[in-house]
């Protein structure tokens, strides 16, 4: 901070000059360091248009300490020459002089002097020329006078190499009066204080302007995970639509509930080691509702309920195998079975969002576990049109309005439909979910009334989240390799905007 004294003297000086002044000169005339003036200029600049300062920089050549000595007393070699009398001088004596060593070699190379090594009493030095012309000194004198421009580059560099001359950059401001020039400056306050409010002194004070370009101070806070933020929104949507949440807190499931109860045959590829995680401990489930299990066995192996069945040898051991559930539909099956055990059927709307597991090959968009979103509606006389209508409402809440449906295959739904939405960015239809009507072979053995239809749909939570937050690698989103900065920076989740 420049002190007010200097600032005011400086301003008085500027007031007197017309057309402006150089900060260097002002500093010299005021007898202060140039730094002080620069400080004053900077602080005045923040006050508004008191002065205007134009930055100038100039380079000029200056003599070094050694250069100044030479300019005054001559170059070392000249001084060597001058100190040698006509009768010569013993070399040892010359070397005693302060400039002796340096000047000697230079004078030798200039062929101004010679050494007689065979002279009595040791080597002796003689002049070889009558007089000399001390060019170095002349050049330096030229530079000292400020006429360095008259030296050519080569000469300057030679002198620079000899550390006699140095190039210095001088930066200064060209200062002129500003529109609101004044010789007095009131010190500006930085912040409003309780004292100012109490005394009312804020009314008289001027305040330093804020730099609105700068960023504010980041608040100290915790953050929710983006995937969980999206999950919260999906839960919200389901709740708004009157869907009740299913208890999906059971990652371990028996093959029976995960596959058999859904009329998924025991040889189905999804039940392969390559697709499903099986358990070695506890490897088997032991309790099943046995009458229901018998009906499931029958519909698989022999058919019934109007079905041909799959006509294969259904094995209990296969149904008993414990797995990590491959879909939350296993829970839907349990819920629907439970619903069927009610004395009187009541319509239900269920949803769940939870983890499922697949023993699949992993890549940038696939992990061994992901979150499945599932919705189920069970009521009398639901139609395929109803399923499309519910899907339309659901996706509208996600901000997706253009939908179309593709026939698909799923072992436990018939009809099955893949849901496609038109992606404005990609300019094409992309798959956003799967849906269908549960097969009678699944529902009737549970004991649900024959005219009850159950419609359902599912999608992954990760995909919409990756699209929403622009994440390409799923590992940056889920799991320990998450980028916490991304978590800190992620905006709130509004799916419909």
């Amino acid at each position: 901070m420049a002190d007010t004294g200097v600032v005011e003297t400086f301003l008085q000086r500027i007031e007197k000059v017309d057309g402006g002044a150089d900060s260097q000169e002002v500093a010299a005339s005021l007898g202060v360091d140039h730094q002080v003036i620069v400080g004053a200029v900077k602080s005045l600049q923040t006050l508004g248009d008191v002065i205007s300062a134009e930055l100038r920089s100039s380079k000029h050549w200056e003599l070094t300490e050694e250069g100044t000595e030479i300019a005054e007393q001559g170059s070392h070699e000249a001084r060597v020459f001058n100190s040698i009398p006509l009768e010569g001088l013993p070399q040892a004596e010359l070397m005693k002089l302060s400039f002796g060593k340096i000047g000697f070699s230079k004078a030798m190379s200039n062929k101004w002097i010679r050494v007689d090594k065979s002279h009595d009493g040791g080597p002796r030095i003689f002049r070889t020329v009558e007089s000399i012309h001390d060019q170095v000194r002349e050049k330096l004198l030229l530079a000292k006078r400020g006429d360095a421009a008259r030296l050519d580059e080569k000469e300057k560099n030679e002198l620079k190499k000899r550390k006699l001359l140095a190039e210095v950059t001088v930066k200064s401001y060209w200062i002129t009066k500003g529109n609101s020039f004044s010789t007095t400056v009131t010190k500006q306050e930085t912040e409003l204080t309780p004292e100012m409010i109490a005394s009312g002194s804020w009314k008289e004070k001027k305040f330093k302007p804020y730099n609105f370009e700068a960023m504010g101070v980041a608040p100290d806070c915790g953050h929710l995970h983006p995937l969980m933020k999206v999950r919260t929104q999906f839960r919200q949507i389901f709740l708004e639509m009157g869907f009740s949440e299913m208890p999906t807190n059971n990652f371990i499931e028996s093959s029976f509930w995960n596959f058999d109860s859904l009329f998924q045959p025991q040889q189905h590829p999804a039940r392969d080691q390559h697709d499903t995680f099986f358990l070695s401990d506890p490897s088997l489930a032991h309790h099943f509702p046995m009458d229901y299990l018998e009906r499931v066995k029958k519909v698989h192996s022999e058919g019934g309920y109007g079905s041909q069945g799959y006509k294969y040898d259904w094995k209990m051991e296969e149904a008993q195998k414990n797995i990590l559930r491959t879909h939350t539909t296993a829970v839907s099956a349990r819920m629907l079975y439970k619903l069927a055990q009610q004395e009187k059927f009541t319509p239900v709307k269920y949803f769940s969002i939870d983890r499922v597991f697949r023993n699949e090959t992993l890549d940038a968009t696939h992990l061994a576990e992901f979150h499945q979103i599932e919705g189920v509606v069970a009521d009398y006389g639901l139609t395929l049109g109803d399923l499309m209508g519910v899907l339309h409402q659901f996706f509208t809440k996600l901000g997706i309005t253009k939908l179309r449906f593709k026939p698909a295959y799923n072992p436990y739904t018939e009809p099955s439909m893949e849901v496609f939405s038109y992606h404005e960015g990609l300019k094409k239809w992309v798959e956003v979910g799967n849906s269908g009507v549960f097969r009678p072979e699944m529902l009737l053995p549970m004991g649900l009334p024959e005219d009850v239809s159950v419609i359902a749909w599912g999608l992954s939570l990760e995909r919409p989240t990756m699209i929403k937050y622009g994440i390409n690698n799923i590992r940056e989103l889920v799991g320990h390799k998450v980028n916490l900065q991304m978590v800190y920076d992620s905006p709130i989740c509004r799916l419909d905007s």
Partner: protein
């Protein structure tokens, strides 16, 4: 979903017209197919093996079409074309017929009883007078391969063999022999091998080795001979070379051996229906007789047409359309399901051809009607199902808690439920046998060996992956772990956990402890023994000795908190001290758990929460605890009372400016009214006594002042107490160990370990002007080196007029580096630096 590759131009030729890619894509979409990729052989090879290999390959355009997994009739060009042509009303579905041979003598395949041990079923048929071209031949081979990969489940259920009938002579025998006794020249080989030799020969065959395990361990291998003992095939591995088919083959003998007869019949039907098109008499198949070991004879292929009757109303109601019976019959006919109204009401008779084994129920017929009608022509309606939504109570609690934990300054992490054994055991200083973890039998990598039994390793790994982030790192996760539980139908259950971690230069036990207090506040549990919560020193190998406490809620352990053991920190590749908290959330469900019961699913026992519900909790009774030990010392001793007296000299209350449970607790710890000598203590004592009647309503304490009376007795480890976060044993401890721990805990409360005083400084370094080389300037600044000085991150901040200042952080040891020293050193670079200011100065 199987993908079928067809040559585009052949497809269009067969369809009788050309389509643009978009048009064909549209047609596929409507029919339930997906045009997955448009490519060429050259493109495929160049993608897989590089451009050089691809130069000779054909660049005929290929369509890769995804076919639904149950539509075996669409797995080849012939089937696709037939399906689409019928769908577009350009063709009537052909009628497939089984004929007896002109000679009257059918080919016979005799099954011997030996096959029962390995592959008991076989079916067969003959395609007579067929004409192959290269394309037809390729498609014929390709279809077999597709069937093998899909319905045949990689040949384990069914294996197909096709033979040039003119090279062999019936009757054929399907038998099983010891591998050493089977000897023949297999397809595309020049010499004969025994079956044993073949199995080792094909060990390295990229294609065939996958099928070896199907019969490898069997005592006998299946084999088919003709009447001259020529080997037709050794299913499911390889055919004999003798009977191989070629472009010139006229009569094809097809055999399918199987472990699943239903699928074998379907596979045989598929092959003959698809390729009988090229027979002299199209769509006819010559029958073959299969003779079983019991003498029974069956005629194949079955080519069964099944008739179903259903009502038009059924279809209208299920799909949500209103179409006439006639129109519905037409829709079904377009899906190769020949249908007509019977005239009885709205009854429709539907004939399901042998090509559609996927139609097993009326709902499959209904779907076909919907596809033919066009899914996207169906009116979208809203069902009038009235329901009231309920949240799953555990998730509701989780959602609410998450929000407030983030508000408490912790950031949510989301980690995998699966991990390695090492993560949950070795790395935490535990044995895997102690963890109650479930084990996965077929993990592809060590990352999926077990389901996690604790959330802690995930959070530690998250920190390890984010070491670059500024400290402190404060993370939490609320998620499920999985534990073995005999009482469940599957022998395991989830448990909802809350875990939080604090990672910084100091352990920050007080931060984690504070978070526990906050959490309990959110969960409406008071800090008190008995009906509230308290923590108590515990031993746990995951934690630093003496720095672990167990959390008790209403007398039962719910989890632990503490400073992690340096070995644990090291095993997760971390370098800083770290404290953590993990606890079970389910005990806090309270009475809302009642709703859970109505949602509970069959065979999952109701969750027995180990605590009385909140509403049932006992009225808070002040219980005079026997303990006289406090953080200020033993209050039964003179020294302890003196310390408390001194403490109260300038304080009104134990904690803060209002009376709280802390006062009540310390009050209780004083055995008898203090003597006159302790004037401050006496003042406080009588004041607190006056709260006698309302002490139950006093606000809870923020920290624990009264220490456990006796060495913490091991909590009753009965079957109900199934919360075992870190799997430690709860052995009786010696009085000495307890004393040491208590001492340490009181040290925790009273003083912090001495640290080298350090400060973090943020400097603003201003250049002369906007032309100053800022990079050079930074280089100069960073070149300043002093003992106890560590440069940190920097950035350029605009200050106006195009000038930027360098903002650079550093950490200094206060004793060694002063700010003036720093400023002096930096202003030394006067060529660049105009001034240096301290923008921020913080004690670490």
């Amino acid at each position: 979903m199987p993908t079928v590759g067809v040559k585009r131009d052949f497809l269009f030729k067969a369809l009788g017209r050309t389509y643009t890619d978009e048009e064909f894509d549209e047609l596929c979409f409507e029919f339930g197919l997906e045009l997955d990729e448009i490519t060429s052989e050259r493109e495929i090879i160049s993608k897989e093996q590089g451009d050089s290999k691809a130069s000779d390959a054909s660049d005929v355009i290929l369509y890769k079409i995804d076919v639904p997994a149950n539509r075996y009739d669409l797995l080849c060009l012939e089937g696709l074309v037939r399906g689409l042509q019928v769908f577009k009303n350009k063709l009537e579905a052909p009628r497939y017929r089984r004929l007896s041979p002109d000679s009257g003598e059918s080919q016979r395949l005799i099954i011997t009883k030996e096959t029962a041990a390995v592959r008991p079923h076989a079916v067969a048929a003959v395609l007579r007078n067929i004409t192959f071209t290269q394309e037809r031949y390729d498609s014929f081979i390709e279809l077999q391969e597709k069937l093998h990969q899909n319905i045949c489940r990689k040949r384990s259920l069914v294996a197909i063999g096709t033979h040039d009938l003119d090279t062999i002579s019936g009757p054929f025998t399907y038998t099983a022999k010891a591998p050493g006794d089977i000897c023949f020249r297999p397809l595309n080989q020049t010499k004969e091998y025994t079956a044993t030799q073949l199995m080792s020969l094909y060990k390295t065959d990229s294609h065939l080795r996958h099928y070896l395990p199907i019969i490898e361990d069997k005592p006998v291998y299946p084999v088919i001979y003709d009447s001259n003992d020529i080997v037709l095939s050794m299913p499911p591995i390889i055919n004999g070379d003798h009977s191989k088919i070629s472009l010139k083959t006229k009569n094809v003998f097809i055999e399918c051996t199987a472990t699943d007869l239903t699928k074998a019949k379907i596979v045989l039907d598929m092959i003959v229906t698809m390729f009988s098109e090229y027979c002299a008499q199209p769509f006819t198949v010559e029958q073959a007789e299969v003779v079983y070991p019991d003498g029974k004879t069956c005629i194949y292929p079955e080519l069964a047409y099944r008739k179903e009757k259903l009502s038009g109303e059924f279809i209208n109601k299920k799909v949500g359309i209103r179409e006439s019976t006639e129109r519905i019959a037409q829709l079904l006919t377009r899906m190769c399901l020949l249908s007509q109204p019977t005239g009885v009401g709205d009854e429709i008779e539907v004939e399901i051809p042998p090509t559609r084994p996927d139609v097993i129920h009326a709902c499959d017929i209904m779907e076909d009607a919907a596809i033919a009608y066009g899914f996207n022509n169906i009116t979208r309606t809203t069902p009038h199902t009235y329901t009231v939504a309920n949240q799953f109570p555990l998730n509701k609690l989780t959602e609410l808690l998450r929000q407030d934990l983030a508000a408490a300054g912790f950031t949510e992490a989301l980690n995998f439920a699966l991990c390695s054994q090492e993560d949950i055991a070795d790395k935490l200083g535990k044995k895997i046998s102690e963890t109650r973890a479930i084990h996965i039998s077929n993990p592809k990598t060590a990352e999926f060996q077990v389901a996690r039994t604790t959330l802690l390793p995930g959070l530690l790994k998250t920190i390890a992956a984010n070491r670059k982030m500024p400290l402190p790192l404060k993370l939490f996760e609320i998620s499920d772990v999985v534990l073995k539980d005999e009482s469940k139908d599957v022998g395991a259950r989830n448990s909802r956990r809350f875990c939080a971690i604090y990672y910084n230069k100091t352990p920050g036990f007080e931060v984690i402890h504070g978070l526990l207090d906050r959490t309990m506040q959110l969960l409406e549990v008071k800090a008190a023994r008995g009906e509230g919560y308290h923590i108590q020193a515990a031993d746990d190998s995951t934690f630093f000795p003496g720095r672990c406490a167990e959390i008790f809620v209403r007398g039962t352990s719910v989890g632990r908190l503490g400073v992690l053991h340096p070995d644990v920190i090291g095993r997760f590749e971390l370098t800083m001290p770290c404290s953590a908290l993990e606890m079970d959330l389910e005990p806090f469900l309270g009475h809302t758990a009642e709703i859970l019961l109505t949602h509970d699913v069959p065979m999952q026992e109701t969750f027995k929460h180990p605590f009385p519900a909140l509403s049932q909790s006992q009225p808070a009774l002040p219980s005079r605890l026997p303990s006289t030990k406090t953080v200020l010392g033993d209050l039964s001793s003179h020294a302890g009372l003196k310390a408390l007296n001194d403490f109260l000299a300038d304080r009104s209350y134990i904690e803060g400016f209002t009376v709280s449970q802390a006062d009540a607790a310390v009050f209780d710890a004083i055995p008898s009214p203090p003597s006159q000598a302790f004037c401050h203590l006496r003042r406080w004592y009588s004041h607190i006594k006056s709260f006698h009647t309302e002490r139950a309503r006093l606000p809870s304490a923020r920290s624990q002042f009264v220490l456990p009376p006796t060495p913490p007795a091991s909590p009753n480890n009965n079957s109900e107490d199934d919360i075992d976060l870190f799997g430690s044993d709860d052995d009786e401890e010696s009085a000495e160990a307890a004393r040491i721990r208590e001492q340490r805990l009181s040290e925790y409360a009273s003083k912090k370990p001495a640290l080298v005083a350090k400060s973090s400084i943020l400097l603003d370094v201003k250049p002369w002007d906007n032309e100053t080389d800022m990079a050079k300037m930074e280089e100069c600044v960073r070149s300043v080196a002093m003992e106890g000085l560590l440069w940190g991150q920097s950035k350029l901040v605009p200050v106006g007029y195009g000038i930027k200042k360098l903002q650079i952080g550093c950490v200094v040891e206060d004793d060694k580096v002063g700010t003036d020293l720093l400023e002096e050193a930096i202003t030394g670079f006067e060529e660049y630096v105009q001034s240096v200011d301290v923008a921020a100065f913080n004690k670490i």
